[in-house]
Subunit: 197 residues, 2 copies
DNA sequence: GACGAAAGTGACCGATCGTGCTCTTTCGCT
DNA sequence: AGCGAAAGAGCACGATCGGTCACTTTCGTC
C-alpha cells in the first residue's frame, strides 16, 4: 500500500496548509479534495470521517513541529545552546515553513483552547511534553539547577515571545518582529542565567 | 427605533460570545437566531448580510475592549500607573468578561491575521491606535522619554505576555497564569524604567 | 500475465448554509 | 385611537456541507 500512504500524506499536507490560514473548522472536504486533485469520495478511502482527518492533521503538524523545532536542538549541549536553537527554529518554522499562515501550532492552540474534545486533548498532551522538555533546559541554565518555579516563569516568557512575534509579524505587519523577539529572548536568557538563587 | 437597537445589541452579544469560543467563521445565523430567540430571517432586519454582522461584531468587541481596558486607565497619571492598569484590565477582561472563551481580541487577531479583507483591516487599524497609545505611555516611563525603539520593544513584550497568559490559562489549564504574567510584566516595567539611556 | 486488493470516481442522500420573499404583528408618534 | 413604519415570522430557493454506495481503474504480487 505504498501509493495510498503518499496520497494520504498529500491530503494531510493540503488540509494543514488551509487550516493554518482559515482555521481547521473552516476546511471543507471539497476544498481539500480539489486542492489535492482527488474526488471528495476518494478522501474517504484514507479517512473514515472529517473528524478523523482533523486529528490526523493535528498529529502530523505536531510531528513536524517536533522534528523541526526540538529534535535538531538535541544535538547541542544542554541549557542555553539548546534553548537558543529551539527558539530560533520556532521562529524560522513559522516564517519559512508556513510562510503564508504563520506557525500552525499557535493557530490550532487558540482555535481549540475553548473547545473540549479529542483535538484539544491531543494538543494539550503533546504541548505538555514539549513544555516539560524545555523546562529541563531552562533548569540546566545554572548549576545548581534553577528552581522549577523560575524555569516555569522563563518558559512562560519564551512562549509568550513566540506568540508576540506571530501577532506582530502577521497581524500588524511588522517585518522587524523576528529581530525584536530574538532580542527579548536573549535578554531573558541573560537574566535567567545570572539571577540570584 | 428603540426596540430595534436593543435587539441588534443582543444579536451582536450572542454572536460575539460564540465567536470567541468557536471562531467568527464558525458562527452560523441559525445558532445566533436561536440563541437570541429570533427567527433567522429576523436577523436580516438588523444586518444586510452575514459579513455585515461580522464587522458589526468585531467593531462592538473592539469598542468594549477600549472601554474596559484603555479608557479607565486614562484617569490615572501617565506612565507606569496607566500601564499597570491597562495590563491588569486586559487580564481581567479576558478572565472575567469572557470567562469561557478568553479575550476575543486575541482570538480574532489570530483567526484573521492571514485573511485579507475588511475584518483584518478593521482589526489592524483599531489595534494600531491602541498600540500607539500604549507606546506613548511607555515613553513616559522616563524623563527624558524613552526612545521609540525601546518603547516598541517593551510593548512587544507586554502584548506577548497577554498572549502567553491566554495560552497558559486556557490551553494548558494553568490557573496560576495570571500571577506569572503579572510578575513578568512588573519585571518588564522595572527594567524599562531604569535602563541606561 | 492473471488476480485480488487497494485506490479512486460519480451519482446521490439528508441536513444545513446564507438569503430573498411575502405576510403579520408590534411599536412610536400625532 | 389610529396610522405608518419598524420588527419579526414563515416559507422557499439554490448552494454546499459531510457522508454512502455501487462501480471502475490501478497497483502489487505470485
Amino acid at each position: 500500500m505504498r501509493k495510498g500512504d503518499a496520497t494520504r500524506a498529500r491530503i494531510i499536507e493540503a488540509a494543514a496548509r488551509q487550516a493554518a490560514i482559515r482555521g481547521l473548522a473552516a476546511v471543507s472536504l471539497n476544498d481539500v479534495a480539489e486542492d489535492v486533485g482527488l474526488s471528495k469520495s476518494g478522501l474517504f478511502k484514507h479517512f473514515t470521517s472529517k473528524d478523523d482527518m482533523h486529528i490526523a492533521v493535528v498529529e502530523a503538524v505536531l510531528d513536524r513541529f517536533r522534528d523541526f523545532v526540538r529534535t535538531p536542538a538535541q544535538a547541542l549541549p544542554p541549557g542555553r545552546p539548546r534553548l537558543e536553537a529551539i527558539f530560533d527554529n520556532w521562529l524560522r518554522w513559522g516564517e519559512n515553513e508556513w510562510a503564508d499562515s504563520g506557525c500552525p501550532v499557535n493557530q490550532l492552540s487558540i482555535e481549540f483552547d475553548d473547545q473540549p474534545g479529542p483535538v484539544r486533548d491531543l494538543l494539550r498532551a503533546r504541548l505538555g511534553t514539549f513544555r516539560d522538555a524545555v523546562l529541563a533546559e531552562f533548569q540546566a541554565l545554572r548549576d545548581p539547577p534553577l528552581a522549577k518555579a523560575e524555569a516555569q516563569a522563563a518558559y512562560f516568557q519564551m512562549k509568550s515571545f513566540i506568540f508576540g512575534h506571530s501577532d506582530a509579524r502577521r497581524m500588524m505587519g511588522d517585518t522587524d518582529a523576528a529581530r525584536t523577539a530574538r532580542a527579548a529572548f536573549q535578554a531573558l536568557l541573560d537574566r535567567t542565567a545570572k539571577a540570584a538563587a
